[in-house]
Amino acid sequence: MTINPASLPQSQLVAGMKCRVCGKQWPVSTTNFCEDDFGPLEVDYHYDKIKPLVSRQLFESRPNNMWRWKEFLPLNGEPTVGLHVGGTPLVRATRLGKAIGIDNLWIKNDAVNYPTLSFKDRVVAVALSKAMEFGLKTVGCASTGNLANSVAANAASVGLKSYILVPSDLERAKILGTTIYGANVIAVRGTYDEVNRLCTQIAFHHGWGFVNINLRPFYAEGSKTMGYEIAQQLGWRTPKNVVSPMAGGALIGKICKGFNELANAGLIEIPNTSYFGAQASGCNPISGSVKENRERHKPVRKPDTICKSLAIGDPADGYFAAKLIRESGGWAEDVPDTEIRECMALLAGTEGIFAETAGGVTVAVARKLVLQGKIKKNEETVLCITGNGLKTQDAVAEILPAPALINPQLQEFQALLTDGAPPVRQTEPALA
């Protein structure tokens, strides 16, 4: 028998929606903000009901994907979209650690998330499963690329119609990687923030489910699973530091929420984690507000960076991300494009992980924070790598050598070795 998700009663574990500004409770719906003050809404749970249901053994007995944590996710029934998302590796990064000066370094590698190679598959799996429960037929998003790929792929897998709006200067690979799924892709002449504003107006006008707008409270919950996985993979504990890239600024807060929920359920000790945020210098509203000790970020009108996935000038969660960073004893930094490229190659050359530009940002910022003394050499640190380098190959094309070209003759190969021009790039990191 097929269960229609739209006919399910509301989960007994979900208390409702709560305004992040005034705390007022609202019923679960496709409205993403408090009608009293426009504050963003967040899903609230009956943690007292969840706690007796969950245990380390229960979670470990389930398949290794994000749905093993389903008691902490806001669905009424079983997921219907993105059943295989999550469960990505936590990699011990000894060689990268040596290069940037951290003895105890890990990489949470969502560059290999299923199906579209970024952490966005986590948020989309929740948002679209929820869209099915709301009975929506058309979904969409404003996107800097990774979200576009993920909404298009996951919508296609269940036959939802999708409208994906992107800035027109987006990388070709990210546009092709959206169109292939049959999505309606619209390139908008403007910045991400202008695309996002247009999508808000479209969502109001048509009543469609825009995953990062009116489905945002559910969408954002998907990011928590990255936190649960990190804690479990470390042996049911949390690291001293987490370094996360920031675009809209939601991920860093949701990793924290994930850790806190596990602690509240008695599954781990109370976390003592500091949160560090990473941005590109060409679009640094959140790191700017942390460094200049401003409560509200100053929006960036025209982001200018090769890191298009983080090019959000007016981040929705900017205020909350900066607050968390300050209150947890963390910090935020930003780095120029030259360092982003260099650190994409450093990560690939030391750990065999080809991350997109945002990964270069995260590694370069971690290195900078070590040099500043904000992250100590001996502190256990997890870097969140959120997207795959195959999507942003153009960013590094100009710094990589072209392959040596020879005829199929042994002597020509031997000549390459003796000419001192090895065809393989030197990858051993220089020690600081």
């Binding site: 500004v21 409205t31 993403n32 903000f33 009608e35 009293d36 003050d37 426009f38 504050g39 963003p40 404003a142 996107s143 800097t144 979200l147 991400y192 923030d193 202008e194 996002n196 504003r197 999508c199 808000t200 107006q201 109001f204 825009f210 990062n212 707008i213 945002r216 675009a247 809209g248 600024g249 939601a250 509200r296 929006p299 009108r301 996935s309 959000i312 007016d314 981040p315 929705a316 969660d317 205020y319």
Partner: protein, 94 residues
């Protein structure tokens, strides 16, 4: 011609269901004045949009599709006949 102020669906219940109001340039010389004139016509909007006399932080305002925070003078930027002012909740993101 006139200056149009667009009201988003969630605020319309506090504005008798109206989706926009039309203002004469004389009563809305700046964006700030246009918003004040809107609230004067529909007082129910006041508590939704303002707290302690300040615009709430998650209320974004656009002049002809440009975020007011990027304009010279911001909320004191002058308005002219034919301008469109839109109020949009600031909650969405990548």
């Amino acid at each position: 011609m006139a200056i149009l102020v667009h009201i988003p669906p969630p605020l319309r219940p506090y504005a008798e269901g109206t989706d926009k109001i039309s203002l004469a340039p004389a009563e809305a010389a700046t964006i700030s004045q246009a918003l004040k004139a809107l609230v004067a016509k529909h007082p129910g909007l006041n508590d939704r949009m303002y707290t302690n006399g300040q615009l709430r932080p998650f209320v974004n305002v656009y002049l002809n599709n440009e975020d007011v925070r990027f304009l010279d003078g911001e909320f004191n930027a002058p308005l002219k006949d034919g301008d469109d002012v839109a109020i949009i909740p600031a909650v969405g993101g990548g």
